[in-house]
């Protein structure tokens, strides 16, 4: 009897051993790529000296953070990161929901699919390619806008790449261009999922098209809207590095309106070799970003526990 029990548990052990072995490559990768750097945040509290090695470098407490927050940069990059994200989230939401609703109103089998695949295309492009596309429009010598569009309107060329004041608009347009299509597909899937009977009942009651959109479609996709939006708000302290680095062509002149935390950390580390400043800014981002994710998840959970991340 007892040998039989042992036999089963040995068999079980063997059974799970295989499953544990399967985990190894992925777990090792995450330990290296994700967990080891988490402990690396101690770098921000050190005065890194490569001769001594990182582990043996002197502790400096919060000195690096003091230096960082004394600079004007700390304020600028925080402001830029948050404001851009807020504008992106709000405009993307409006444009994407409008596109989804309009797509659904089309009574043709073939056209909605065609439009969907066209508006999704920009989402596939790397930021390098987007940088080239924007350059072909805005190049000061040869761009389409300065050479064709502005002359048609009877206006002279604009030095787009020399003046920071244009960039909040340019970056916002580029962001909407590249991501609203993707979001509209997600919302469209939600709209398609709405039970048709609601619309039939509303039509019988004499509801107009606009009433149907605002009283049925939008309220019924609101859960999806809230989740998608809160997921983006959770990432409000992070930016699309390529958009802010590549599209303004890494220009120093444009930094007042194009520098965000991610580009600041990159430049401080790889262009200036300033490990103290860059690691302090990185830790600032990791910790505040973590808190914001926890808060936004808490809010999702309050609204609808099924949709929370954890």
């Amino acid at each position: 009897m007892s040998s039989r029990v042992t036999g089963i548990s040995l068999k079980k052990l063997k059974k799970y051993k295989m499953l544990y072995l399967m985990l190894i490559p992925g777990v090792v990768y995450l330990l290296i790529n994700n967990y080891a750097p988490m402990f690396g945040i101690i770098i921000a509290f050190k005065d890194v000296n490569f001769a001594k090695g990182i582990m043996n470098s002197d502790w400096v407490g919060l000195k690096n953070f003091e230096y960082l927050f004394k600079t004007e940069d700390a304020y600028i990059i925080t402001r830029n990161t948050i404001l851009y994200n807020l504008v992106f989230i709000a405009l993307n939401l409006v444009v994407a929901v409008a596109l989804a609703v309009l797509l659904y109103e089309l009574k043709n089998r073939f056209l909605p699919r065609l439009y969907q695949s066209i508006i999704l295309l920009p989402y596939l492009m790397s930021s390098v390619i987007i940088g080239y596309l924007v350059y072909s429009l805005l190049s000061m010598e040869t761009g389409l806008i300065n050479n064709t569009i502005l002359p048609l309107l009877g206006r002279g060329g604009v030095m787009w790449y020399n003046d920071p004041k244009y960039w909040p608009y340019i970056l916002t347009l580029v962001k909407i261009w590249s991501t609203a299509g993707y979001l509209s597909i997600v919302y469209f899937a939600a709209v398609v999922g709405i039970d048709h009977e609601y619309y039939e009942a509303a039509t019988l009651d004499g509801a107009s098209k606009l009433q149907r959109i605002f009283k049925i479609t939008i309220p019924l996709i609101t859960p999806v809207i809230i989740i998608m939006t809160l997921l983006q708000i959770g990432r409000i302290f992070y930016s699309d590095f390529g958009l802010f680095y590549q599209v303004p062509l890494d220009s120093g002149v444009l930094m007042p309106t194009t520098n965000v935390i991610d580009t600041y950390v990159y430049r401080a580390l790889l262009k200036n070799g300033d490990i103290g400043m860059s690691s302090a800014a990185g830790v600032y981002q990791s910790i505040v970003g973590f808190i914001i994710i926890l808060i936004s998840n808490y809010v999702v959970k309050k609204i609808n526990p099924d949709n929370s991340l954890f």
Partner: protein, 294 residues
Amino acid sequence: MIARKTEQWVINIVFIAISFLCLIPFILLVASSVSSEDSIIQNGYTLFPTEFSLESYSYLFKEPAMLIRAYGISIFITVIGTVTSLIVMTLLAYPISRRDMPLRNAISFFIFFTMLFNGGLVPTYLMYTNVFQIKNTLFALLIPGLLVSAFFVILIRTFFTMNIPNEVIESAYMDGASEFKIFARIVLPLSTPVLGAVGLFQLINYWNDWFNGLIYITDSKLYSIQVLLNTILLNAQYLASNTHFVEDMTSADDIPNHGLKMAIAAIGVIPILVTYPFFQKYFARGLTVGAVKG
């Protein structure tokens, strides 16, 4: 009835305008790449070539080694990266999809936590360059940040849990199949939709990646197509100072710089534009697979 028809027309016109806005930059890029340098200097980049010319391309293909190499590296890392990534991620997702797996929740949390918190660029960069010495190696293009994404692992796990009945696994096990055999012969073949979607995303992520190249690669022999494009765009002198181009030219002024930029970008983007119609269906479907459970 007439009102409905007008309404359909209005919506169609809105979408045609939006489609045009999405496509204009691509048209501009390709049209400019086949324009003569003189016409570009005179009229700027245009949506229709004022003077058709393939001079930019003929300059590029005069000494094609640089481009072929970059293409080769992009294809290599995209194929190897996507395949390795799918293998590692499915192997990680399967055990935690099994309800009977001990420590299942702890392991899931271990994976999930990486989506909430990270150490940031500085420790990651210092670790990869100082401890693992991957600067200027192909590993730099394959491994950091890209190989395993917790989001995809959870997506695959959810698919396994929802679509593979426990009874199927149980009965295969009763028939004496090993765990690995069950995974390879039963679970994977039933999971092609999610594997296809994740595979497609990883394919695009590897093909489009330039960030790893930007921070870990300084040797131009290891430039992928995106890194090469990035260098050319941000460093106006790169083409002129690249020996391949100057060798058989009387002076650097003869290089059709404006057209060349567009031709190189076109070569980077055309493969995607050409294959897109074939995979767009799976791409759109994949996006909504992922969106169901964020």
